[in-house]
């Protein structure tokens, strides 16, 4: 409880400096949403990830990037030029007052500026530095440039997504950034725990490529245990257990092997089971050998229903089926709404609030979600530089004229 009698956030008291671009701004967002005190440090003029769309009103503007909005909730924002000597001095004084620094610069770049881990940990021996890069700090590819599609390709995600007749397909969005950010956030909490015992900080080295490989489910398992190289098989899941089929008004994801007899009975009641009623189909091995035919018959049936009918009736019979939702249907979803998943966040600049996807967990002792929108460029300079570091207005003006902040 704080002085006002409010429960504090789960991670309140943990201080994070966020130097990350789009690759890992989600990492400190995860911590900020749980109550950590996060200061985002952008270079003067703003972080490059403000140029990534989508944009509010569909017009590119650094204060209207919905991508930036999403990844930077609940953070303070300051501008600081690390390429400037005075800027580096200020950075070091901030480092002394923090627990964690998250950065995404090319390996070696901070070191060249005189801000390598050795220097930072000398300033603050308890500091946890987290570096998130495409390929990690070491190894022959450490200097390669990376963005999401590069990490997705090198990490093995693309090769197994899409159709055999099409090019490999990158999963939608910036999945490698989010995976790396989740691993990095877990690493930070582990490092904090280690620090409780050792009193010492840590340099964590997170690679986008490795984050992707670690999320591949079957790919490495099939290779290491059976020497199988999994390929793309379109709408059919790798182990043929699910497929996406057309229905009256869209598409539905159907499991192909679970509760076979119930499924056939259901189809038969509507006169659409064809030869699937045959005894021989009761044997799973036989079904697996005649998958194409089964899918053909199933498809004839699913096309006579809406996705919603199949979903609702199927779920009542415990089939793990689902309609293939568009973003609009996700926003309108009754389950997400009932659980209060979306959070209204006030944006005074546009005179409205925006509905954000919240966090996926409800902690019984974490306060209900009251969120602050992402900072405007340099929005919290005064609070951080004056109130926290005690710089005078004159000093600030001087630093500003030197292009340090």
């Amino acid at each position: 409880m704080n002085a006002k009698g409010e429960t504090e956030g789960l991670l309140s008291g943990i201080r994070v400096l966020d130097l990350a671009d789009e690759k890992a701004s989600f990492c400190s967002k995860l911590l900020a949403d749980l109550g950590a005190y996060v200061i985002k440090i952008e270079k003067p003029g703003g972080d490059p990830s403000r140029k990534i769309g989508p944009f509010l009103g569909n017009s590119a503007h650094p204060e209207k990037s919905l991508f930036f909005f999403h990844n930077n909730t609940n953070k303070l924002g300051i501008t600081l030029n690390l390429e400037n000597g005075a800027g580096r001095e200020i950075f070091l004084s901030l480092v002394k007052r923090t627990d964690v620094v998250v950065e995404t610069f090319p390996p070696g770049w901070l070191h060249e500026l005189g801000l390598g881990y050795e220097v930072l940990s000398e300033a603050n021996p308890k500091l946890i530095l987290v570096s998130v890069t495409g390929f990690g700090q070491t190894g022959p590819r450490s200097q390669y440039r990376a963005c999401d599609i590069v990490a997705s390709a090198f990490g093995g995600q693309m090769y197994v997504s899409g159709s055999p007749s099409s090019p490999p397909l990158k999963p939608f969005g910036e999945q490698s950034y989010y995976m790396a950010s989740l691993f990095a956030a877990i690493g930070i909490l582990l490092a904090l725990r280690k620090r409780h015992h050792s009193g010492k900080g840590e340099h964590l080295d997170i690679s986008l490529q490795e984050a992707v490989v670690s999320s591949l489910e079957h790919v490495m398992i099939q290779y290491f245990y059976e020497k199988i190289v999994p390929t793309r098989q379109g709408a059919l899941l790798w182990n043929n257990s699910f497929s996406i089929l057309p229905c009256k008004d869209g598409y539905v994801l159907i499991s192909l092997f679970q509760q076979w007899e119930t499924l056939v009975e259901w189809m038969d009641n509507e006169g659409m089971a064809q030869d699937l009623k045959d005894e021989k189909y009761r044997e799973e091995e036989f079904r697996r050998r005649h998958l194409d035919h089964i899918i053909e018959v199933l498809q004839g049936w699913t096309k006579t229903h809406t996705a919603h009918e199949l979903f609702e009736s199927g779920q009542l019979m415990r089939f793990p089926w689902a309609p293939v939702f568009s973003p609009k249907e996700v926003l309108e979803n009754c389950q997400l709404k009932a659980r209060g998943f979306f959070i209204d966040v006030d944006h005074p600049e546009i005179g409205a609030s925006i509905q954000y996807p919240g966090v996926p967990y409800q902690f019984s002792l974490h306060p209900s979600n009251r969120w602050k929108r992402a900072p405007l460029t340099g929005e919290d300079n005064l609070q951080v530089y004056q109130e926290e570091l005690g710089l005078s207005e004159e000093e600030l003006q001087k630093l500003s004229s030197m292009n340090a902040i």
Binding site: G53, M158, S166, L189, R193, M220
Partner: protein, 402 residues
């Protein structure tokens, strides 16, 4: 049964004991991370449920359940509940990913467990969460991907949706589960209080759709699949290109004029690169179909490794589309010791990934493969709970421990 008490690894989480009721992938992924870093994870199994993905001697099980202990306990016996109480008393965390009713039906939900262990941390991670009209719906990873918009958008335009070819929502929920446990432990250290966490796997995957959900919500325009292209990424060329060889591909992303200049130079400046319609980023984005076709004429003549090496050397983002075999033999991953060998008592030498969380000092020196079914019964029931030999055999005989 072999009697094998192996000291679990002395990692960061040593001293933390986790009673693990998870199964298949999402929950097992959470406890794998915790076990990797030294927590003592006790996986509760039974002969009845140790099938399919939960069958101890499969590669799938070994991959996701390394560094854990296994006990058998048939929860359908009323006596099992009392044993769970005793185990909970000796644990820090209980974690489960059953449908919401299951733990309550066994009489071991948070309300009852916190009676025996007031500072207990319990994480439930069902498909839809513990509340809401869909709370009892059955969901696997692909189900949640379909419901999140990820499947719809991971598709080529004007073609039926394909989505990702595997259960991606499971690792996502698994990561959130591990994060939830660690955040709650952090809070317990500070305040002495445990708590209950209701994690929805559906919401977990939805958090990774953030920007597009904001886009649809605020801009009110329908959003269609774009294949490998993205209107939101300020790059052109941007995409996946065929290379020489069978099913070999590379990706290329050109963000600015310097990188475009480098690409043109590497291509040997063919005439098309000088065309007015490719002269700046927005024009290249506008004419990307022709641009991609020209670029692919070049990539088709070279293996992806060569294309990527040359482009990266010049400072252009590019990548090889790697398959399982490429990954297993990837010299970069090898240099970073990303894969390691773990001995398994039945499967023999097995290979596994280490962890993308790379500490300066890595913990995997004393990692071990997944446990056999009930391998740790004697350690847990006798050493930890103090059962006598007679009690243990009586429970075994009745099938309660079985």
């Amino acid at each position: 049964m072999r009697f094998r008490i192996i000291q679990m690894n002395r990692g960061i989480l040593s001293g933390i004991r986790i009673l693990d009721f998870t199964w298949v992938l999402a929950g097992s992924y959470s406890t794998r991370i915790l076990g990797d870093f030294g927590a003592e994870v006790i996986k509760v199994q039974s002969k009845k449920i140790a099938r399919g993905a939960e069958s101890n001697l499969t590669g799938y099980f070994n991959h996701w359940n390394r560094n854990k202990r296994s006990i058998t306990l048939d929860m359908s016996f009323p006596e099992a509940k009392e044993i769970v109480f005793k185990l909970t008393k000796r644990s820090d965390v209980v974690i489960e990913n059953y449908s919401p009713r299951v733990m309550s039906n066994w009489g071991v939900n948070y309300e009852t467990l916190k009676e025996v262990k007031p500072d207990l941390i319990m994480v439930s991670m069902s498909g839809m969460g513990q509340t809401g009209p869909w709370r009892d719906f059955v969901a696997f990873g692909p189900t949640l991907q379909a419901l999140s918009g990820l499947t719809y958008l991971t598709s080529f335009p004007h073609e039926p949706p394909t989505g990702m070819g595997y259960a991606y929502a499971d690792p996502v929920a698994g990561l959130y589960g591990a994060l939830a446990v660690l955040a709650a432990l952090e809070y317990r250290d500070k305040t002495g209080k445990g708590q209950y966490v209701d994690l929805s796997q559906y919401e977990a995957i939805c958090t990774l759709m953030g920007p597009v959900l904001l886009d649809r919500c605020m801009n009110h325009e329908d959003i269609f699949p774009q294949g490998n292209h993205s209107k939101d990424i300020p790059a052109a060329p941007y995409g996946c290109y065929q290379c020489s060889g069978i099913d070999r591909w590379c990706v290329i992303a050109v963000f600015n004029e310097t990188e475009w200049e480098t690409l043109c130079q590497i291509l040997g400046r063919p005439d098309w690169t000088r065309e007015e319609r490719f002269s700046n980023l927005s024009k290249r984005k506008e004419n990307r179909e022709d641009l991609d076709r020209f670029l692919e004429q070049w990539t088709r003549k070279h293996p992806p490794e060569e294309v990527v090496y040359r482009l990266q050397k010049g400072g252009v983002s590019a990548g090889v589309v790697q398959n399982a075999e490429n990954l297993a033999n990837d010299p970069h991953l090898a240099a970073r010791n990303f894969f390691l060998q773990l001995e398994h008592p039945v499967l023999g030498k097995t290979v596994s990934d280490t962890s993308p969380i790379q500490f300066e000092e890595n913990p995997w020196a004393n990692w071990r493969g997944a446990p056999l079914l009930g391998e740790d019964n004697r350690y847990v029931y006798m050493e930890l709970l103090g059962f006598t030999e007679g009690e243990l055999s009586s429970y075994l005989e009745k099938g309660i421990i079985g």
